[in-house]
Amino acid sequence: MPLRLLKYALSRKHPAPRFFRDCTEPKKSYDAVIIGGGGHGLAAAYYLAKDHGITNVAVLEKGYIGGGNTGRNTTIVRSNYLTPEGVNFYDASVKIYEGLSEELDINLFYSTRGHFTLAHTESALRTMRWRAEVNKHVGVDSYVVGPDEISKACPQLDISCSGKAPIVGALYHGPGSIARHDAVAWGYARGADSMGVEIFQNTEVTGLDIQSGKIKGVHTSRGYIATNKVLSAVAGFTPRITNMAGVDTPIVIHPLQACVSEPMKPWLNTILVSGSLHVYVSQSSRGELVMGSSLDPYEVHSTRSSLDFVEGLTSHMLDMFPFLSNVKIVRQWAGMADMTPDFSPIMGTTPVEGFYLDAGWGTWGFKATPISGKTMAATMANDQAPELIKPFRLSRFEDYDLTGEKGAASVGH
C-alpha cells in the first residue's frame, strides 16, 4: 500500500478539496474563452495558464466536463501514424502522457500495453510496413511482426481467425497505451482551476459576436461574455460553432460506436486492432473488454446505438477469440465523430481574427489531448500556430495539401 494512500486515508482532511470550483456566475469579460469542456478544451485552458500565464480564462461546457467524446472514447493512445507530420505530432502527445499522471497528480491509469495492428492480407501488411518505415524514420518504436510474435504476446488469439481471415502479420507499436478518460478531463480541470481558470458547466454557447472579422464575445445560456480570443474545442458539435462563426470546414459528423463486456480477470495484456475485421479491443484495468469498430457509414448527428453494430463487432470478436461465446456485453454507446477528409485534425487560426479552431478529431483525438491543449494554447497566446500543427491548418483543404492518415486511423483510432 503506497504511503501516500495511507497518509491520505488517515488524515482527517479527506475528502480532498474540490477538484474544481462550481462556477455559475461568469464575469463580464475574459482574456480568453474556451468553448467545450472536453479534454481538449480543458487542456488548452491548463496550458494557457501554465505555459503562457494567461489565467483570466473561462471554459464553457454545455453539459458536464468530459461528457462529450472524451468520456465515450476507448482511450487508445499511440503514435504509429502514417505521415511524418502525424507521427511527430502524436509522438509529442505520447511523451506528455507518459508523465502526465505525475504532472497533474492524478492517477490516469496510463497503461502501456503495446499495440498490434493486425494484418489479414498482404495489402494490409504493406500499409503496416509503410507505417513502420515512416515511424522508424521519425524515431517512433514500431515494426512489423509475424504471427508467432503476435501469438507470444496474446496466446489466446486465434491466428486463423476461425479460418476466415488468417492473420499474416502485424504492426507492433510498443508505446501503445490506454488510460482512464475521465481522469484526464478531471486532472486538467483541476490543474487549470488551481491556476485561476473558471470552468462553467451547464453553460452553452449559443452565438458568437463577430465584428469586422474579429471576435468580440460569445453569447451563452448564462449571458454575454466579452473576449478577444475564443477557442472552439467541441469535437462532434464543431459544425454548429463554425456555422456561428461563418467559417467553412469540410467536417462531417458520423457516429462512432463502442461497447464493453462485463468484468473478468485480466487475460488480455495488449491492445489489438484488426482493420479487416473492423474491431479493436483492450482490457481495462477494471477487467472489462473495451471494444469498438469503424465509423458508422452514414452522416448523422446522433449518439444512438445500433444493433447491427454490436452484432457485427461481436461476430468478429468471436473470430479472434472463439472462447468468448458466453461472455456478456454489458453496455453499448456512441459518440459523434467530427471527421475530416484526410483523417487529420484541423487546428490553428481561422479567417476570423481571434477565433481558433481545434476540431476534426474524429475517432482519434483522445490521444492528442495533451499536445493539442499545449499547441492550441500557444496558438492563442501568440496568435500563430506553432510548427508542429501547421500541417493541420484549415487552409490545407483549399491548398490540396492534405495530411493523409486514413491508412492509419480508420479502425485503429
Binding site: R4, L5, Y8, A9, H14, P15, P17, F20, D22, Y64, I65, E98, S101, D105, I106, N107, Y110, S111, T112, T121, R126, T127, E133, V134, H137, Q156, R180, A183, Q201, S261, E262, P263, M264, K265, P266, S285, G287, R304, S305, S306, L307, T314, S315, P322, F323, S325, N326, V327, K328, I329, V330, R331, Q332, W333, P341, D399, Y400, L402, G404, K406
Partner: protein, 966 residues
C-alpha cells in the same frame, strides 16, 4: 438447516424431479425449477457469494437478475448469475473472485481496511513514482474483474430469427397480460415476452397472504391461451430498443429480432433497497425477493424476520411470511404516518408489533458476517433523515426483509427517447412524453395498485389499438395513491458506514458525500467518479438511491438531478448470442472448382477468392510464379478474370454519363473500340480504373477492378440520381465469366476456337467485338495489361468452364498455362502498368501517378476536375516512376514501402511495387521520388529494412522491352 416448505400451489418446483449439484465442493439437493440461489438458500446456505470490492459475504438480494454478488463458475462458464440461472443436475459450482473459497476468502481483510480505500482512491495513489505504476497496476488488475475466462469455452453461435408483429408487449405480469387480453380480440398479431421462467410477474409471488393473485393469474393465462394470434414467450428478455421499434428478444437458444408496429412496455419496477448499516449481509433481502423465495421456490427467507418497510409492499410481504410460518418480530416503518392500508390490522391481529417513524439503524452480523443476528431499531426523523438513537433497542432475528420503494424498469423507454418526469405522488420517474407507437403501463408507469394496474394495461392496449388503426373505446385509469409506493429518502446514516447503495461496487452513502465534496456533484460525474451503476447490474438497484442522495446533498428536487443515460443492454447479453451464426460471404467464380482441383493457392481479393498461383510439384512459390510468368512471355498463359466488375451503361445519355463520371472522353469513342476509364473522387484522388467498351451508340460495357466493382457501381448510381440523365445501369459482374489469354501464342490458340479474324488489322489493340468462342457467345476485347498481345473473353458465367477447357486443350501444345494474381502483378509490372491501390494510396492524384494522359481537361465537367485544376497550379511533392536496381543486384532485399530518402535525409517517397523479373533479369519496380528527379536514368536512394541505402535508377517502360532491346 433446510428452509424448504411443503409444496405450495404457486411454486415453480418440479418435486418429482430431484437433482443434486455441488457448490464450493459440497453436495446439495434441489428440484428442477430451482435457481442456483433458491436451491442453496433452501438448503440453509447463506453465503452465496462475495462482494466485488470488499469481499463481504453476500446472499440473496433481489432474485430478479441483479444479485451480482452471486456470480459463479462451473468449470466451463463463468460470471453465471445464481439468482436466475436454473440449477442443473451435476453442476459443480464455485464462487468467482474469491481467494480460498467463499467461506474462507482471504481477501475479506479488505473489508476491515476499507476506510483507507475511500471512493476514487485509485485516482489518488500509485502514480508516483511513475516507474512503480506497472507494479501497482498489476495488483489492481488482478483484484478487479470477476470470473476467470475459460479459454477452452466452445465457440457457440446461436441462431437468430427475425419476426414482425403488430403489438409487442414487454412484461407478462398482470399489466402486460391484461393488455394482451384486451388487444387479442381485435385481430392484431401479438407477442408477449417475459424474462422470467414463467409468466405472471408479481402475480406469481406477491400474494399478500391470500391466494387471490394466483387465481387471477391462472384465469388470465387460461383466457389468453384461447387466442391463436397471441404468442407468449417466457425466459425471454427484451435486450434493448433500437430505431423504429426494433427489439431483440434474448432467449437461451438465441436472439429473435422483433420489429413491432407498436410496443407496450409493461416491464414493472425494480425494488430498491433502503440504505442502512450492514444492509448487505446474507439474510437481508428485498421484500419481493423474500416473496419470490416463498411463492416460487417454497423456501423460507429466514425463521424470524424484522420487516423494514416504507410502503404497502412490506406489509404484503409480512403477511406472506406469517402465512409461511416465519416469525415476524416487528415491522419497522420509516414513515411517521405509517401504512394506511387495511393489512395493518390483519398483521397487528397476528401479534406483530409495528413501529412507525422508526428505522433499522444497523444489522447485527452473525459470526463471520455469514448472516444476521439481530437488528438495532430506533426512531427516525423523516424530515432530517436522521436516526434518533435515544430509544434504540435490539431485536434478535435472522432475517431483515426490506421494502422502501421502486425504480421503474424503464431502460427501453429511455432508449426509445421517452421524456420522463418525476411524479411526486409516486416518488418515481414516469413517462411524460412517449415516442409514437410506444406505450407504458403498470409499475413502470408509476401505477402500483393491482386493480389500477389492470386498468392501466387495458388503457395502454386501447391506445395501442387506436394507434394501429382500430376503433376501440378509450379507457381511463384513476391514478390515486393512498400512500406513495416509494419513500423519497430511505437512507439511514451511520458513523461507521457500510450502508450500501450499490451492491455491485460496494458503494455506501459516505462515498457519495465525499464525491460531491470533491466536486463530482453532477449525476453523470458522480456516476463516473463513484462507479455507481457501472457494475454488471447497471444500476438497477442503485441509480435511484444515488439520485436521491445527490438531490439531498445539493438541496435540489430529484427531477433537477435527472437520470443517467440508459443504454442497451437491459441485461448483459452473451457475445455468442449477438454474433449469431456469423455469415462471412465470399464469392467464387464458376471456375473455382477447376482452380481447386489444380492446386491453386487462393487469395482474398475484395469479396472474391482468386487463385494467386498454382502449386507445382517440386517448385517453391517464387519459382512457380516465375514459371507462370515465363509461360506468358514465351508462349501463353491465361487467368480467370471473372471477378472483374462488369457494368452495363445504356441509354441515350450513356456517353454523356461516362464523360462526366470518368476522366476520359467517350462521346467520340467509336463503336467496337475500348477506352481507358479512370475514376477520380471529388478531391481528385484516383479511385479505380477499367476499360469502357462501346458496344452501340447508346450502350457501353465497363469493367472495374475486382475490389472496387461494388463501390464503383454504387457511385454510378449515386451520380446518376444527381445528374438525372437518361441512362440505365446494370451490374452484370456475376453474370459473366472472364478469361484473359496472353502471350505470343495467344492469337494462334484462340484462332482455332473462333471464326472471328484476330489479326491486327481485324482486331487491333483496343478493339472489342461480340463473337463466338468455342461455340459460346462471347465478348472479345483486345487488351494489353499483362502482355502486348492479349485477349479478354467475357462469356456467360455458366459457359466459362467450357471455354477455359477448350483453351487449355487447344493451347497444350504451345505450353499454355493458367496463372494467378501474384503472377499477374509481376506481369503488369513488367509491362510498366501501375495498379491503383498498390501504387497509389488514398490521396494520390493523377499528376503524382503520372496519369495525366488519361485526363481530358478540356471537358466541361468530370468528377474531380475542379480539384485537379487547383492541384495543377501547385508544385508536385512526389512522382511515381518506374525503376530498376543495378544489374545483378545481390544486396539486401528491398521491400515494398521501403522509403526513398533524399540527400537531405528526408523522406521523398516510397517503393510501391518491386519484384525480380525473370524476363528482364533485374529487379524492377515503381517508387515515388522527388519530382525534380524523374528523368530516365536518374538515380535515387532507397532505404532498406536494416537502414542502408541502395541506389535505384528511373527506367523506361515497358520493362520487358529492356531485354529485347538489349
Amino acid at each position: 438447516m433446510s428452509k424448504r416448505l411443503p409444496q405450495r400451489a404457486s411454486e415453480w418446483l418440479k418435486r418429482d424431479k430431484p437433482i443434486s449439484f455441488y457448490f464450493e465442493g459440497q453436495k446439495y439437493q434441489a428440484y428442477e425449477g430451482d435457481t442456483i440461489s433458491s436451491a442453496l438458500w433452501a438448503a440453509g446456505e447463506t453465503v452465496l457469494g462475495r462482494s466485488f470490492k470488499y469481499h463481504r459475504p453476500r446472499g440473496v438480494l433481489s432474485l430478479a437478475n441483479h444479485d451480482v454478488n452471486v456470480m459463479l463458475a462451473d468449470g466451463t462458464d463463468t460470471n453465471m448469475r445464481g439468482d436466475v440461472l436454473p440449477v442443473q443436475d451435476g453442476m459443480q459450482l464455485t464462487v468467482v473472485n474469491t481467494d480460498g473459497g467463499v467461506k474462507n476468502d482471504k481477501k475479506r481483510f479488505i473489508d476491515a481496511i476499507s476506510s483507507i480505500l475511500p471512493v476514487g482512491f485509485y485516482y489518488k495513489a500509485f502514480h508516483t513514482p511513475r516507474s512503480l505504476f506497472p507494479f501497482w497496476e498489476n495488483i489492481i488488475r488482478k483484484s478487479a474483474g470477476l470470473g476467470v475466462v475459460n479459454f477452452n469455452y466452445p465457440r457457440e453461435l446461436k441462431r437468430k430469427l427475425h419476426t414482425h408483429c403488430d403489438l409487442l408487449i414487454i412484461g407478462a405480469g398482470p399489466t402486460g397480460l391484461t393488455a394482451a387480453l384486451m388487444a387479442a380480440p381485435h385481430g392484431v398479431n401479438i407477442i408477449v415476452v417475459d424474462e422470467n421462467a414463467q409468466a405472471g410477474g408479481s402475480l406469481s409471488y406477491d400474494l399478500g397472504g391470500s391466494d387471490e393473485s394466483a387465481k387471477r393469474l391462472a384465469d388470465l393465462l387460461a383466457e389468453l391461451a384461447k387466442y391463436p394470434n397471441v404468442t407468449l414467450r417466457t425466459g425471454a428478455y427484451a435486450a434493448g430498443y433500437y430505431t423504429d421499434h426494433l427489439i431483440p428478444i434474448v432467449e437461451t437458444t438465441g436472439i429473435t429480432k422483433v420489429r413491432a408496429k407498436a410496443v407496450i412496455v409493461a416491464s414493472g419496477a425494480f425494488e430498491q433497497p433502503p440504505v442502512f448499516r450492514n444492509n448487505d449481509l446474507p439474510g437481508v433481502m428485498l421484500a419481493t425477493a423474500a416473496q419470490r423465495l416463498l411463492a416460487r421456490y417454497a423456501t423460507k427467507p429466514c425463521e424470524s424476520a424484522v420487516v423494514f418497510a416504507a410502503n404497502k409492499q412490506g406489509y404484503r410481504a409480512a403477511m406472506d411470511l406469517l402465512d409461511a410460518g416465519v416469525t415476524v418480530k416487528a415491522i419497522v416503518d420509516l414513515r411517521a404516518e405509517g401504512e394506511p392500508c387495511s393489512l395493518v390490522d390483519a398483521i397487528k391481529s397476528r401479534g406483530v408489533a409495528i413501529y412507525n417513524g422508526a428505522c433499522v439503524y444497523e444489522v447485527l452480523p452473525a459470526a463471520n458476517k455469514f448472516g444476521v443476528k439481530g437488528a438495532v431499531i430506533c426512531s427516525y426523523d423523516e424530515a432530517s433523515a436522521k436516526p434518533l438513537l435515544h430509544d434504540r433497542f435490539t431485536l434478535a432475528c435472522d432475517g431483515i426483509i426490506m421494502s422502501a420503494g421502486w425504480a421503474p424498469a424503464a431502460a427501453l423507454l429511455y432508449q426509445a427517447g421517452t421524456g420522463m418526469r418525476y411524479e411526486k405522488s409516486a416518488e418515481q420517474f414516469v413517462p411524460a412524453k412517449l415516442p409514437a407507437g410506444m406505450f407504458a403501463a403498470g409499475k413502470v408507469n408509476g401505477i402500483f395498485d393491482l386493480a389500477q394496474r389492470l386498468q392501466d394495461g387495458a388503457r395502454a392496449a386501447s391506445e395501442a389499438l387506436t394507434y394501429l388503426g382500430k376503433q376501440v373505446p378509450s379507457v381511463t385509469v384513476d391514478r390515486e395513491y393512498i400512500a406513495s409506493p416509494s419513500h423519497p429518502y430511505p437512507m439511514v446514516e451511520h458513523p461507521k458506514g457500510k450502508n450500501f447503495v450499490d451492491f455491485d461496487e460496494d458503494i455506501s452513502i459516505k462515498d457519495f458525500v465525499h464525491a460531491a465534496q470533491e466536486g463530482f456533484d453532477n449525476i453523470e460525474l458522480m456516476k463516473r467518479f463513484t462507479t455507481v451503476g457501472m457494475g454488471p447490474s447497471q444500476g438497477k438497484h442503485s441509480n435511484m438511491n444515488a439520485i436521491r442522495i445527490l438531490a439531498r446533498i445539493r438541496q435540489l428536487p430529484v427531477e433537477r438531478i435527472g437520470t443517467t443515460t440508459a443504454r442497451p443492454f437491459f441485461h448483459p447479453t452473451p457475445i455468442g448470442h449477438l454474433a449469431g451464426r456469423g455469415l462471412h460471404p465470399h464469392r467464387l467464380t464458376t471456375l473455382h472448382g477447376w482452380h481447386e482441383a489444380h492446386d491453386a493457392e487462393f487469395t482474398d481479393v475484395g469479396v472474391w477468392k482468386r487463385p494467386a498461383w498454382y502449386r507445382r510439384a517440386g517448385l517453391e512459390k517464387q519459382q512457380a510464379i516465375y514459371e507462370e510468368a515465363l509461360a506468358v512471355r514465351k508462349a501463353a498463359g491465361m487467368i480467370d478474370v471473372g471477378t472483374l466488375g462488369k457494368l452495363e451503361v445504356r441509354g441515350p445519355d450513356a456517353a454523356e454519363f461516362l464523360e462526366r463520371f470518368y476522366t476520359g472522353s467517350f462521346k467520340t469513342q467509336k463503336i467496337g473500340r475500348t477506352r481507358y476509364a479512370l475514376l477520380l473522387d471529388e478531391a481528385g484522388v484516383m479511385v479505380d480504373d477499367g476499360i469502357a467498351c462501346r458496344i452501340a451508340e447508346d450502350y457501353f460495357y465497363i469493367t472495374a477492378s475486382t475490389t472496387n466493382a461494388a463501390a464503383v457501381y454504387r457511385e454510378m448510381q449515386r451520380w446518376l440520381q444527381i445528374w438525372q440523365l437518361d441512362v440505365g445501369l446494370v451490374n452484370v459482374t456475376g453474370a459473366y465469366g472472364g478469361i484473359n489469354l496472353a502471350g505470343p501464342a495467344a492469337r494462334g490458340i484462340l484462332s482455332r476456337l473462333t471464326l472471328r479474324p484476330l489479326d491486327d488489322a481485324s482486331l487491333p489493340f483496343g478493339a472489342v467485338c461480340d463473337t463466338e468462342i468455342a461455340g459460346v457467345p462471347a465478348r472479345l476485347i483486345r487488351v494489353g495489361f499483362v502482355s502486348d498481345l492479349a485477349f479478354e473473353m467475357h462469356v456467360p458465367a455458366g459457359s466459362a468452364q467450357h471455354v477455359w477447357n477448350a483453351l487449355l486443350e487447344n493451347g497444350a501444345a504451345e505450353g499454355l498455362r493458367p496463372f494467378g494474381t501474384d503472377t499477374q502483378r509481376l506481369l503488369r509490372l513488367e509491362m510498366g502498368n501501375h495498379l491503383i491501390g498498390q501504387d497509389t494510396d488514398g490521396l494520390t492524384q493523377p499528376f503524382e501517378a503520372g496519369s495525366e494522359g488519361a485526363i481530358q481537361f478540356e471537358k466541361p465537367f468530370f468528377i474531380g476536375q475542379r480539384s485537379l485544376q487547383i492541384i495543377a497550379r501547385k508544385p508536385l511533392n512526389k512522382r511515381l516512376v518506374p525503376f530498376t536496381l543495378s544489374e545483378g543486384y545481390q544486396g539486401e532485399t528491398i521491400n515494398e514501402c521501403n522509403l526513398v530518402i533524399g540527400a537531405d535525409g528526408n523522406i521523398k517517397g516510397r517503393v510501391t511495387s518491386i519484384a525480380f523479373s525473370p524476363t528482364v533479369g533485374r529487379f524492377i519496380g515503381f517508387a515515388y521520388v522527388d519530382p525534380a528527379n524523374v528523368a530516365e536514368g536518374a538515380a535515387f536512394n532507397i532505404r532498406t529494412d536494416s537502414g542502408s541505402l541502395v541506389m535505384a535508377r528511373v527506367a523506361a517502360t515497358p520493362f520487358v522491352q529492356l531485354q529485347s532491346e538489349a
